[in-house]
């Protein structure tokens, strides 16, 4: 069993302790509340942009999309315009389904050796479900948090919050009394999805084998973020007004340390900061990379329209003249036409 997750788990626990002890007992509230978040935001923004520019600076010498369906050819043959796009609109649709619906992952199959000799392929949807649940709940959580960074709170944020909590009123509220206006579905789903993705890495032997410590680290970070968030919201009932004041201070570049927030808040904030700073240097950059992936974002019309390679250079060639010079006699004997007769 690949035990690399222990490194990551311990790393995240240490980070949590650092923030808690540092802010609570060490009197480092300014460091953890102001310096680190600003630093993390700068690293994230600069790092993200640098990474994208780094990729963009590399050439796309050949147009090599992976085609997943019928090409555009004869007029009476039905083209698969999305999976094998021949127009920009097709590419946009392909990318849309890829980025918003994880289309390629949706295709996932599972292969098994059945009865020792028969290979079977079955549709494997759980990774897709978990990935979708994870990313969308994360998105909703981030959108909800805009409440803390915008004043007045925009209508769309309120709407998202309403629907996020609304579902809970319908299904859960009558059973559980927590005393808050709503349980946010997104937080629960996020945590559940992260746990699923983690367990997958532990229990599927192949996935376990390929997993690096660097793969577990963000999972534990997000678990820590989700847990501390949920804890503050439902259990310690943190001073939301105080936090809003604090975050608005950060946004307006007049940061003030709030009085009434506890150590758990600093854990939450610190882990988010670490995640932001970690982002541009890690595989999390797939968020940006997917847009630039040449096998998906190019039109498959290479025989119809010429694609130019910016660094195309001349190479040594074996010309027809050289070829005929070598084989002229044999060619003439075999009755093949030649450019120059024998002297």
């Amino acid at each position: 069993m690949n035990g690399k997750y222990w490194f990551s788990l311990i790393a995240v626990v240490i980070l949590m302790l650092l923030a808690y002890v540092g802010a609570e007992a060490g009197g480092l509230a300014i460091f953890f509340g102001i310096v680190i978040p600003y630093l993390a935001a700068i690293i994230f923004i600069v790092g993200f942009i640098r990474r994208i520019l780094g990729w963009a600076s590399s050439a796309v010498p050949f147009r090599i999309p992976t085609t997943c369906g019928q090409q555009k050819s004869l007029p009476w043959i039905k083209q698969n315009k999305i999976d094998n796009p021949s127009s920009t609109l097709g590419v946009i649709l392909r990318m849309f389904f890829e980025i918003c619906c994880f289309r390629s992952l949706f295709r996932n199959t599972k292969n098994e050796l059945y009865n020792g000799s028969k290979l079977t392929y079955s549709w494997e949807i759980w990774l897709w479900v978990a990935a979708l649940a994870f990313h969308y709940s994360f998105l909703v959580v981030i959108m909800r948090h805009l409440r803390f960074f915008l004043d007045p709170v925009p209508g769309c944020v309120k709407l998202i919050e309403f629907f996020d909590g609304f579902l809970r009123l319908e299904f859960v509220d009558t059973f559980i009394q927590i005393g808050l206006p709503a349980i946010m579905i997104s937080g629960i789903v996020l945590l559940a999805a992260v746990v699923f993705l983690f367990l997958r890495r532990i229990f599927i032997p192949q996935v376990n084998y390929i997993s690096l410590a660097a793969d577990y680290f963000p999972l534990f970070l997000i678990m820590g973020i989700a847990c501390s968030g949920i804890f503050m919201r439902y259990f310690t009932k943190v001073d939301v007004i105080g936090i809003k004041g604090f975050t608005m201070g950060l946004v307006k570049f007049h940061p003030v340390i709030p009085e009434s927030v506890g150590g758990v808040f600093y854990i939450h904030l610190f882990l988010v900061s670490i995640l932001l700073a970690y982002f541009p240097f890690s595989k999390l950059m797939h968020a940006g990379g997917i847009f630039l992936s040449p096998t998906r974002n190019l039109v498959n019309n290479t025989r119809a329209v010429r694609h130019v390679n910016p660094w195309n250079y001349d190479v040594p060639l074996h010309t027809y003249e050289e070829y005929e010079d070598e084989f002229r006699e044999k060619m003439i004997e075999a009755g093949l036409p030649v450019e120059k007769e024998l002297k």
Binding site: R107, N111, Q206, R303, M331
Partner: protein, 542 residues
């Protein structure tokens, strides 16, 4: 053939990864899995670096002293030149969706044949050499130094990938392991680590125009045999033309079709079709001895070598002054023609935009490259009723169709061959979904791996394809595996003999030729292989 019986090979598949982590599992080069090192003569002929005799099983690979430096520089260059490479090094999240998509993993169970891990072999070094985080975090971040063992692992596993791109279809970011393998092989070639089944065909293609090294007069001689055979079966004397200036169309096909059965029957099919079109419609098609190879073994070496070999197609079309080029049934040839040729060796502005002179159809999808796939061409002829066909002549065949990887996943040529098959034969059965069209499985011998010494790997890698064929054989009595790729025609007979001995292999245009009613033909009683036609034997006896 491998010493292992099919049952033994199946029993050997163990999908459980070893107890030690992959970075700590040492490389073990096994007999039956690897290909022989390149013959120095071949490497020298095309001027590739570090020419020497070497043996992968020996400790010393006779590398240049500064091999690490060469590779580091080569790596950096390729990161700048290929956005694919740079992005694919960075964004993999190791979700494992690709893991069980590779035919080599399915057939061997070797975890380093999971596409993700094959790529990690390069990525681990990339992290160490080119990323700050990798340098700081080391193994925690998945980085490792490029040692001799790592290099050997590269060589071993990059020549266990047929660049079929099946994993790419399932990757949420479109990471294409074929692209990574291509880069890996380019790097290996920088220090002279090639395999002979690639290097010698490359040298042959460069010198004689085709990978078998057939010289022009010998090629003509081979065709003379085909002409005799065709006359025996049909009573018609056909006259294929070579190097003819001013012909309408230049035809280029993989040379595998000239050389060995069953490809030769496909070749006879092309010859008969062109004869038919000349007699009926006056279409003038020429073959070339100079550009006598469609397949591009340079593709399995480096982009530069690919370009060097590919240049012959346009050069010959220009010299002969043809209107456009027609290409035969081949897998990776079409990936190169479709996705690389115009970029590397174009623009082909000395030719006309391809129009079928017989049907008037404009091949809009090929208007820049000016090269049409023969399945598109023939499908168009059939659609316009330009071919007289007796599909009952293929009634002795129960056919299934193998999409070859490169046209399927690098082009999308899926329905044209199916249309042709349905018009030339009565019994066509699809293999199960998940094994056809863009999810098709490799023959296990592509990308230069069709050698003899790695037969165990080939049989293991071809298992998923063969298993699907076996399924339709048992269910529908399928006895013929049709394909549009010369490597398939070369690799499948051995694969079928091993896994499904009742099934034989056929090219698309062999079936077309069986069904084609040639002008002035005598009553046909056999197919091109001399097998009696169903329902025609009695008439012959009378």
């Amino acid at each position: 053939m491998t010493d292992l019986k099919p049952d033994e090979l199946l029993a050997k598949i163990d999908r459980n990864p070893p107890a030690s982590g992959w970075m700590d599992t040492p490389i073990n080069i096994k007999k039956g899995i690897y290909c022989y090192a390149s013959n120095p003569k071949s490497v020298e002929y095309v001027g590739l670096p570090n020419v020497r005799k070497w043996n992968p099983l020996e400790e010393d690979w006779k590398l240049p002293e500064n091999w690490q430096e060469i590779l580091h520089k080569g790596f950096r260059e390729r990161l700048e030149r290929f956005r694919t490479f740079k992005i694919f090094m960075d964004i993999c999240v190791r979700c494992g969706a690709c893991a069980d998509k590779c035919h080599f993993f399915i057939g061997t169970g070797d975890p380093k044949n999971m596409p993700v891990l094959r790529a990690e072999l390069l990525r681990s070094v990339y992290r160490n050499d080119f990323t700050t985080f990798g340098k700081i975090l080391g193994k925690f971040g998945g980085a490792r130094k490029l040692t001799l063992d790592v290099l050997k692992e590269w060589w071993y596993y990059f020549f266990q990938c047929t660049e079929c791109r099946r994993c790419s279809v399932f990757c949420p970011y479109g990471i294409d392991t074929a692209e990574i393998t291509i880069m890996g092989r380019e790097l290996l070639n920088l220090i002279g680590l090639n395999i002979d089944w690639v290097a010698t065909p490359v040298a042959n293609c460069y010198r004689t125009g085709n990978h078998l090294g057939i010289q022009p007069h010998a090629l003509k001689g081979m065709f003379d045999f085909f002409v005799e055979d065709i006359e025996e079966v049909t009573g018609v004397l056909v006259e294929p033309q070579f190097n003819k200036k001013g012909a309408d169309i230049l035809f280029i096909t993989p040379s595998g079709d000239y050389f060995a059965d069953p490809g030769t029957y496909t070749c006879m099919g092309y010859i008969m079709l062109f004869h038919y079109l000349k007699e009926k419609y006056g279409l003038d098609v020429t073959w070339s001895t100079y550009a006598s190879e469609g397949g591009n073994f340079g593709f399995f070496t480096s982009h530069e070598t690919m370009k060097r070999l590919n240049s012959k197609m346009y050069a010959e079309a220009r010299r002969l002054g043809v209107k456009w080029i027609l290409g035969g049934e081949c897998g990776h040839m079409w990936r190169v023609v479709h996705q690389y040729m115009d970029t590397m060796n174009g623009p082909a502005d000395f030719m006309e935009e391809p129009v079928s002179p017989i049907t008037g159809t404009k091949f809009e999808n090929a208007k820049s490259t000016k090269m049409v796939h023969i399945a598109e061409f023939t499908a168009d002829l059939i659609k316009h009723n330009k071919l007289e066909l007796d599909k009952n002549r293929n009634d002795h065949l129960k056919v299934t169709f193998h999409d070859s990887c490169n046209p399927a996943r690098g082009m999308g040529l899926l329905d044209e061959p199916r249309y042709v098959i349905n018009n030339v034969c009565n019994n066509f059965y699809e293999m199960p979904p998940g094994t056809i069209r863009e999810q098709t499985f490799c023959c296990g011998s592509g990308a230069g791996l069709n050698a003899g010494e790695n037969i165990e790997l080939r049989m293991a890698g071809g298992l998923p394809r063969a298993n699907a064929v076996k399924h339709v054989h048992e269910k529908h009595g399928v006895n013929m595996l049709a394909c549009i790729c010369a490597i398939d025609r070369a690799a499948f007979p051995a694969l079928m003999e091993y896994w499904v001995p009742e099934v034989d292999v056929i090219g698309l245009h062999e079936m077309v030729a069986n069904a084609l009613i040639m002008p002035g033909e005598s009553k046909r009683t056999t197919d091109l292989r001399g097998e009696p036609l169903l329902g025609m034997e009695d008439e012959a006896d009378e």
